[in-house]
């Protein structure tokens, strides 16, 4: 349990940019499904790296 917690903390501390973008996309899609507003910076983060 404590090991898990440590892993989570370290993962939360230093997530790579790729992981943050993936998390932002998950979040945007999740918010869309329940019609919840998503902060703009998360939308911007989710759109980074997408083909125009």
């Amino acid at each position: 349990m404590s090991i898990r917690h440590t892993d989570r903390e370290s993962a939360a501390r230093q997530p790579s940019e790729k992981v943050r973008v993936a998390a932002a996309r998950v979040r945007v899609d999740s918010d869309r499904q329940v019609r919840r507003s998503t902060p703009q910076w998360i939308k911007d983060l989710a759109n980074t790296g997408k083909k125009q």
Partner: protein, 176 residues
């Protein structure tokens, strides 16, 4: 041509004239009387009990299917969350992709996904993303004079505070 004929046969009279409040009330009474004449005896037959049993079975099946779906959803979500907790980046991405594939219109289930992604998106780690801003761009390492700012007032550095204090004291001594 039709107007005259219909008028002659009295077929264009207003429907509201035929279905006035008094007529509707009597129609309703007739309908209830007709329903009561067969429904009450029917409700006492084994056939009615059979229909009720079928309805109960359908409701039970629906509830069971729904619970089963929710249970499977939570199992998949738990598995995906475990992957995101990994320290390995590739495994984190797999976990997030699995979370992404979980579809649900349930608010609580989506709250779970929100909480799982907040770990990566919430820089303050306070569970409140409304007060968050995107992480700042990396700044250059402050030079030796970086602590002297803000309207001429010297600002103590984060490290080497005693050295800074001594230097301030010497500078102050030199100017007197």
């Amino acid at each position: 041509m039709g107007w005259a004929l219909d008028d002659g046969n009295n077929r264009l009279s207003s429907p509201s004239a035929k279905l006035g409040p008094v007529d509707f009330a009597s129609w309703w009474t007739d309908l209830m009387g007709w329903l009561g004449s067969w429904l009450i005896p029917f409700a006492q037959t084994p056939g009615f009990a059979g229909i009720l049993a079928v309805v109960a079975a359908v409701i039970a099946f629906w509830a069971s299917t729904r619970n089963s779906r929710k249970e499977r959803w939570w199992k998949r979500a738990e598995y995906a969350l475990d992957r995101t907790l990994s320290t390995d980046e590739a495994e984190q991405l797999v976990g997030l992709a699995m979370l992404h594939s979980l579809r649900s219109r349930d608010q609580r289930e989506q709250d779970f996904i929100k909480a799982a992604t907040d770990v990566f998106l919430d820089p303050n780690a306070d569970g409140d993303d409304t007060d968050d801003v995107p992480p700042a761009e990396p700044v250059e390492t402050p030079g030796p004079a970086a602590h002297v700012v803000d309207a001429g007032r010297p600002k103590p550095p984060a490290h080497g505070f005693m050295r800074w204090l001594r230097r301030q004291w010497r500078q102050g001594k030199g100017t007197r």
